[in-house]
Symmetry: C2
Subunit: 209 residues, 2 copies
DNA sequence: TCTAAATGAATGATGATTCATTCAAGGGGA
DNA sequence: TCCCCTTGAATGAATCATCATTCATTTAGA
């Protein structure tokens, strides 16, 4: 019963399909991808996909959740190695931008499809994505406890601001065919931006509300 | 020839269609919206839409460009009233979050559809969106000239970080049905975040790179 | 009456999903 | 060792609904 697949198939067939879906969705977008394209890319018959996934939507959602779970587990581990909130923040930011190179296809899918799905799939709650945001919260909370970050920092807003800044940079990278900037450089700029702010000196800051 | 429409139609029919499109797209998303839904919402026959727009894609793109043009012109005017870079930045941020209340439907469409279109409509360049980013650049450049902002600030990265943070907050607002936060509060938090950074004191900042 | 605008039914393509059929691995009997 | 069976996996052609788009016809202002 737990057969590996007659045609001596490689690793689990389900995973082949998931990989193929990432490839096709990242190239054409969810709505422009045909199930038969994915089947072909996976080297599988159209109908086979329905043995592993309920339907096309389920394929996309499984992809989100399963792959994001890996990303979250990975970043958690990396961040834990950092010493103090600033160091951890730096690691988080560098890791996020690094994903652009390590997991290009996945990121391209997340970038453009996650929003759609959040908004229009009636009952889909992006659990794993929220966990990713939680990692940021934890860093910010640590910073407050340590006294590194302002006590009046609004974590709910700040974590989204950090994520949003990263996400937008990643989007710019993904959209520009010419790859005109280096993700690592962008990462260090963004780190400074949050750590130091835009201003030159503390004086300027006091000047306004 | 420049008839107003037999049925004593209201303002320009084209505009009625554009408004209807915003409404329908914001509710269901581009791909799930039928042209006939839009026609119905506009009080117009299906075919009429094709008298004013080349096709469904063109309808979406016209919507982006024409409505964004209004938004850009408006924010430019408001920002110009600010005195100095920090004041202008504050106005920009407040205006962006304010759009959530003033132009809810439009923002919902932009939030989720602009990315898709950027990525998958082969030759669409979101000119008006880029102009919106330019408004941020201009503020940042001004800050550098004034000496308010760091001389080594990377404007290309920073403008996207600012936009990204705002966009993400707006998204969170649009997605949460419960409307759990006030856009105006979020605006002031984000302003402080960029103006002051995350840290408590200058000392902490110097500590790391 | 003439003309441009508007209509909306009909067309044609597309593509998700189904399901009757095929395939092949493992087991048991000779 | 060699052959059948049985069974679940896999297949992919056919189905069927869904729209975007067209265009012959109607409408009403000038």
């Amino acid at each position: 019963m737990a057969r590996r697949g007659p045609r001596g198939g490689g690793p689990a067939k389900r995973d082949r399909i998931l990989r193929a879906a990432i490839k096709i969705f990242s190239q054409k977008g969810f709505f422009n991808s045909k199930v038969s394209d994915i089947a072909q890319a996976a080297g599988v018959a159209d109908g086979t996909i329905y043995l592993y996934f309920k339907n096309k939507d389920d394929l996309l959602i499984s992809l989100f959740e399963e792959k994001m779970a890996e990303v979250v587990a990975d970043v958690r581990e990396r961040v834990a190695a950092g010493d103090g909130a600033l160091s951890r923040l730096k690691i988080f930011i560098e890791n996020h931008m690094g994903l652009l190179l390590r997991e290009a296809g996945l990121i391209e899918v997340l970038q453009v499809e996650l929003r759609q799905s959040n908004k229009f799939m009636k009952d889909y709650v992006p659990v794993k994505f929220l966990e990713y945001l939680d990692v940021i919260s934890e860093i910010l909370e640590l910073g407050k406890r340590e006294g590194t970050f302002r006590q009046d920092l609004n974590v709910t807003v700040a974590r989204r601001a950090v994520f949003g800044a990263l996400d937008e940079m990643a989007l710019a990278y993904v959209l520009s065919r010419k790859r005109k900037y280096d993700p690592a450089d962008a990462a260090s700029e963004i780190y400074r931006l949050f750590a130091e702010g835009l201003c030159t000196t503390a004086q300027n800051r006091e000047g306004r509300t």
